[in-house]
């Protein structure tokens, strides 16, 4: 199994490697204009330069902090509200229609309001990211709890479990797979929203580096930031997925269910942004 995974994992690298080689070749032979599409080697060089100047780590650090804070804030609120609406029909009828209508507001529309309320510094950025992370986590938590097998709940009732014991012994473990999928979706959106947040007037961060590269005509910096977003986004998702797998190793079809839901989450993401 690990060998097969390694093989399928490695096969995913073939296409990017070929494209990189093609790209490098086109740049070398002057087909691609360097002021629009700098060669991969030039991008790498600019990353190294930014790193050596000590500037790069500052940008990465502040972006990571914003993502982490926004994600944690969104997660905390989404977990509580998702648990409430999943567990109780009354809370669902009370809260869910309102929250669903908020979901249809495009993320960018929040920016002026958050800036007005919270200023142009960290608070408004973190809040925007939290809003992004909120919905997938909220929706999956609610659905996860609602979809808990009533037959298992009945088994718990037969053996005298109720209230907190029922939540801890049955509802929580049964909801965990959906919750983890929600967390991964939320983290993905947190990474998207951090770019939007850093576009709205930041002086640091990977999003700032992106804008700065455009305004100062340094395409290598733009591509470098995009690359770094991809790397950190993927790395954080991988971390979360690995953590999640530890908790839900019992699940028969976790892999396939996860892929299906990830696809659904992608679709949802397209609609949100």
């Amino acid at each position: 199994m690990p060998r097969r995974l390694a093989r399928t994992g490695a096969i995913g690298l073939v296409l990017p490697a070929l494209l990189l080689a093609l790209w490098e070749g086109l740049s070398r032979f002057g087909v691609a204009p360097p002021n629009l599409l700098p060669a991969p080697s030039a991008v790498l060089k600019s990353i190294l330069m930014l790193w050596r100047s000590g500037e790069l780590w500052g940008h990465i650090e502040i972006t990571l902090i914003r993502v982490a804070l926004g994600f944690l804030l969104g997660m905390a609120v989404a977990t509580v509200l998702g648990a409430l609406t999943g567990y109780s029909a009354l809370w669902r009828r009370l809260l869910d229609p309102f929250l669903q209508s908020l979901r249809s507001i495009p993320s960018m529309a929040w920016i002026p309001l958050f800036v007005l309320w919270l200023g142009i510094f960290e608070a408004s950025k973190v809040t925007l990211i939290a809003v992004g992370a909120f919905f997938p986590i909220y929706l999956n938590t609610m659905a996860g709890i609602q979809q808990v097998d009533r037959k298992l709940v009945e088994v718990a009732r037969i053996h005298g479990y109720g209230g907190a014991a029922l939540v801890r012994r049955v509802l929580l473990p049964a909801t965990l797979p959906a919750y983890i999928i929600g967390l991964r979706g939320g983290l993905g959106l947190a990474w998207m929203f951090v770019v939007a947040a850093e576009f709205m007037g930041a002086s640091e961060g990977l999003g700032f580096l992106l804008i700065d590269g455009q305004q100062t005509g340094r395409p290598a910096n733009i591509i470098a930031s995009i690359l770094l977003f991809a790397i950190f986004g993927k790395a954080s998702d991988l971390l979360l997925a690995m953590l999640g797998r530890r908790f839900v190793a019992w699940q028969d079809s976790f892999e396939t269910a996860e892929e299906k839901k990830a696809h659904a989450a992608d679709q949802a993401r397209l609609q949100t942004v």
Binding site: K151, L152, E154, V155, A156, R157, I158, H159, G160, Y161, R169, V170, P173, A174, L176, V248, W250, Q251, D252
Partner: protein, 252 residues
């Protein structure tokens, strides 16, 4: 003694049970057969405390049963094991707040009795259907309930597994002698296991006839006298003659 008195239950317009009376002696094995919709499962769920009757009462040794009780164990049609718990943890689940050592040793003993000692650490997904149902039986029995209810416990299994689990259940019954009330739509199963077979009719759900099967156990499935019972019950259920759709007029 388990006493069911004039129990009625309706789900909106559907009359699931209409004034059902049934008394089951301590240690007695009673099998309930009936076509679908006759309320046999509902009756079992009421005795388990999972449903509340609209009228009538269920008492166990004089105490009213209104919610699930530790003295009453229930085996469902499906194993219903928690997929995130190991087989042993699933059995321990029935022991609630007892000390960990005690839970562990009781669960292991219960698993040994159903022949699953070596699978204690496996996850439910690794078990076959018959093994999973044995684990469910171990879970229902581990707290030594005075009454064991079984809701079509073997109906999802193939014939060979079903036979061996029926024998198995009788082995277990011999040591603890719990009162057993089980629902089945396999008449042969009811005849092989029960001291008494109760035939139920639908619309509204009610007891139509009862037969005392006073043959020693274990019984051979091919035993001639069982065939006579079988024929009578099939007639009761209106299944003996093809096309016979007339409602029998008598009741006990």
């Amino acid at each position: 003694m388990l006493q069911i008195k004039r129990v009625s239950k309706r789900f909106e317009a559907f009359e699931a049970l209409a004034s059902v009376d049934l008394a089951v002696d301590r240690g007695e094995i009673v099998g309930i057969v009936g076509t679908s919709g006759c309320g046999k499962s509902t009756l079992l769920r009421i005795v388990a405390g999972l449903e509340t009757p609209n009228s009538g009462s269920v008492t166990l040794d004089g105490v009213a049963v209104t919610s699930p009780r530790p003295e009453v164990g229930l085996v469902f049609q499906e194993p219903r094991l928690m997929p995130w718990l190991s087989v042993r943890e699933n059995v321990e689940f029935a022991l609630g707040k007892r000390p960990r050592d005690q839970r562990r040793s009781l669960a292991e003993a219960a698993l040994a009795r159903v022949g699953l000692a070596t699978f204690a650490d496996a996850l439910p997904q690794q078990l076959s259907g018959g093994m999973a149902q044995r684990a469910a039986i171990a879970r229902a029995l581990v707290a030594r309930p005075a009454v064991l209810l079984l809701d079509e416990p073997f109906s999802a299994l193939d014939a060979f597994t079903r036979f061996s689990l029926q024998d198995h259940l009788l082995d277990i019954w011999r040591t603890d002698q719990p009162t057993m009330l089980f629902v089945t739509h396999d008449i042969e199963e009811a005849l092989v296991l029960s001291d008494r077979v109760v035939v139920m009719h639908a619309k509204p759900g009610r007891i139509h006839a009862q037969y005392r099967i006073d043959l020693p156990r274990p019984r051979r499935r091919t035993e001639a006298s069982l065939q006579n019972w079988k024929e009578r019950i099939l007639e009761d259920l209106d299944l003996a003659v093809k096309g016979g759709a007339a409602e029998p007029e008598f009741a006990i």
